[in-house]
Amino acid sequence: MEKDETQSYEKIIFTNKINENIHLLKSIFKNDETLQFRQIENRADPSIQCCIVYIDGMVNNKLLNEDIIKPILEYRAKWKEHDLLDVIAKQVTLSDSVERTSDTETIVQGIVYGDSALLVEGYAEVLILNTKGWASRSISEPDNEKVIRGPREGFNEAIMMNLSLLRRKIRTPDLKMEFQVFGTRTKTKACICYLDSVVNKRVLAEFKKRLKTFSIDGTLDSNYISEFIKDSPYSPVKTIGSTEKPDIVAAKLLEGRVALFLDGTPVVLTAPYLFVENFQSDEDYYINFYFSSINRALRMIAFFIGTSLPALYVSLVTFHQELLPTPLLMSISLARQGVPLPTVLEAILMFLVFEMLRESGARMPGSMGQALSIVGALVIGQASVQAKLVSAPMVIIVGLTGICGLMIPRIKGADILIRFIFIGLSAIMGLYGYMFGTLGLLIHLFSVNSFGIPIMNSAYANSFQDRKDIMVRSPWWTMKNRPKYLSQNKTREASRRSTR
């Protein structure tokens, strides 16, 4: 029912009277006062009457004035024997892309996307001239994917600019870019990128198939699409990757993955997404492999601590006191003297506070950071321990767990969820419950696929080539194969070439 009202302009047919056409466009864009009509006449031959229609703010005004209006005004050649519209398109305007059409839908889409429509008296057809020019953010380093060494540029919100960033990294016609439009109302442009000779054809086919399975009125961020097409959508673990950095996208494409760019967001989706990618950072590949292996091990330990430490603490302190070494038991029970809450509630409460601090840190204006850290460290940390509201070991546990959780931002959401589930299980059943949770998590992880590839495919690696980039980052010259199952074109040719 709603559809008829807005899509009715498709039935409108343009006439060869310019004023009627202007009227038609005005009726399509009723109440839209950003739509501009600029009527012009050729100085030498006033019978050449044109009207340029564009949306204010979407076009590059300088370009419009100098490359389209000015040439038409000053055109002096003979044209009578030719088709005027053709002459204007070919000889007069300086636009890089000119499309001649009478299709109302195309015209309207062109206008709303920043092109100008040139109406000419006597023609029912219209020239669509590329005059796009809107302000976009400059290329900057993404805040959540910072590196110390390596490329720092990040995507912005303009898809063509993003694609150019990628193209600059992979200069080969093998890099395919296929456009598609999402959003019945927003008409957002998207681009599927892959390396034709490297990509896993089955993954690509599945990816394209899933993109056709849904319909939504608008896609403002790539997550709109991601949630529609990902495997195990209810799972806390990611099955589709996202990044804001062209170098990461390029690396994923070279490993045989598919990328999806969406206009209006700097976040690019990549698929398939393996579990180990949560622990990989682009910087791993830019720095010394010993150092990056240490970093990777730290991230895996951080995942363990981030999910398990509070659960282990709760189960040890409330169920298995005999497993604590005597001095530790003494200091923990000393610290717990006079604390009113049971350990479990203490843990849950402190984690709620920590997550609140984290969330307010992400949302609040940057100038208030100082206040937050004072409140966090002094009021919640020190004062609450002194006031005996929480015990000091719990503050340490929460602090350590929180830091470890922040160390692996790609799996942050899952980390928090798993942590609370584990705490709950530990509070009911002690270590037994914790083991229950761990086994459940493992069973779940091993059952999840991403576009036909098991996300834990690296866990049952049995050759060096399968293991080279999991727990450690091997030196580049040993990375001879692409990751398991990701590409039929396995060989990566990272071997050393003889210099002779």
Partner: protein
């Protein structure tokens, strides 16, 4: 179908919840840690009188606290303690049990039953025999370096078994093994209270000797050392011997020691061949003579051999005569190397042990002299 499947899975999970064994939710605040306890004869009609040493966490610091309680059984006395404290006693970190010598001479087995049976108490807990009038006295002195007297005694036992070797270190499971077996008799460390500059202090004092589960007597510190040599439990202690003097004036630091006890049948009766091989360092020399020559070292070795020979022989004689209890584990070594003979004769082992023959050979080797090349010389 899907519903049935998920119901089955849910049911399986719920069944699994029942397989948890022994567990319970207990907050730390509701527990009070027992570091050790002493068992005495009961008062007021009760059979046992227990003295617990507790960790007192009031006033925000760890301190020792004694709590006494009576009961008809050990467990009864433990539960009766709840009436005197608001918290439940927690035994997982309990390190020692001090046992009154009077109770021990009546039989120690009934005391150990609950201690080995209960889930909280560890099998590595160390039973000790108190030489004082009551066992509770042992827990009362203020510890020298620790907060809790029990921990100090436990650590002293641990350390002395390595560096001092004047009392045996026996953990509960070993004691139960010795008690249950018919080839080795039980020994336990003994402890007493001494007066010192800082008031009363506890001190490990030799070995308590049992026959079956009854205390029959004690060995002093020196005898205990030879006992440990015989039981091959020496690692890093000192061995004193005398040269040109009646007093012990040379100290050897043992590097390693190996004792082999092999039974042989001689004229129808069994005889023990005891072979002690010890490597030691020449650690202290109080004599005026410099023994650090090849001949001198040999002389020291010879003297040490003789001391050892005499000490071990005296000890075996004393135990055979006074206690008639095979604390050396001779029976165990026979049952290992001559199982058939042992099967036939183990019922009469009690009677044959006091007249058991043995030979002792000692091989003491001095392998180094620490950092000195001569003795400290006095100038003319």
């Amino acid at each position: 179908m899907k519903v049935i499947k998920s119901c089955c899975i849910l049911l399986l999970i719920m069944v699994m919840l029942c397989f948890t064994g022994c567990w319970n939710y207990r907050e730390l605040d509701g527990l009070t840690m027992v570091s050790g306890f002493a068992i005495d004869k009961g008062e007021q009609g009760h059979k046992y009188h227990l003295t617990f040493e507790l960790l007192n966490l009031a006033e925000n610091k760890a301190a020792a606290e004694q709590l006494e309680s009576d009961g008809d059984t050990i467990f009864d006395a433990v539960r009766n303690a709840i009436a005197k404290t608001q918290k439940k006693l927690f035994f997982s970190d309990c390190n020692i049990i001090v046992i009154n010598q009077d109770i021990a001479s009546e039989g120690i087995a009934p005391l150990l039953d609950w201690i080995t049976r209960d889930t909280e108490l560890r099998l590595t807990i160390k039973p000790i025999i108190s030489k004082e009038k009551t066992a509770g006295e042992i827990l009362r002195p203020k510890p020298v370096t620790d907060t809790l007297q029990s921990f100090e005694i436990s650590k002293a036992l641990q350390l002395s078994s390595v560096h001092l070797s004047k009392s045996p270190k026996v953990e509960l499971y070993e004691a139960v093994d010795m008690l249950g077996g018919d080839d080795t008799s039980l020994i336990l460390p003994a402890i007493k209270v001494t007066e010192s500059n800082r008031g009363k202090t506890t001190e490990l004092d030799g070995t308590a000797v049992f026959k079956k589960d009854k205390l029959v007597g004690y060995l002093d510190s020196d005898e205990s050392k030879f006992l440990l040599f015989l039981k091959n439990q020496i690692s890093d202690s000192l061995f004193l011997t005398n040269l040109d003097s009646k007093d012990k004036n040379v100290a050897l630091e043992i590097i390693s020691s190996q004792t082999k006890v092999t039974p042989v049948i001689l004229n129808g009766s069994v005889m023990m061949n005891i072979k002690i091989e010890t490597q030691a360092a020449f650690a202290e020399d109080q004599t005026a003579k410099d023994y650090l020559t090849e001949d001198g070292i040999k002389e020291v070795e010879k003297s040490a051999d003789a001391t050892m020979q005499a000490g071990v022989s005296d000890l075996i004689k004393k135990v055979q005569k006074e206690y008639k209890s095979d604390i050396f584990g001779f029976g165990a070594s026979i049952s290992r190397s001559m199982p058939d003979w042992w099967k036939k004769n183990k019922s009469s082992w009690d009677k044959s042990f006091p007249s058991l023959k043995y030979t002792i050979s000692v091989d003491m080797k001095i392998t180094n002299t620490a950092t000195a090349k001569t003795i400290v010389k006095v100038g003319d």
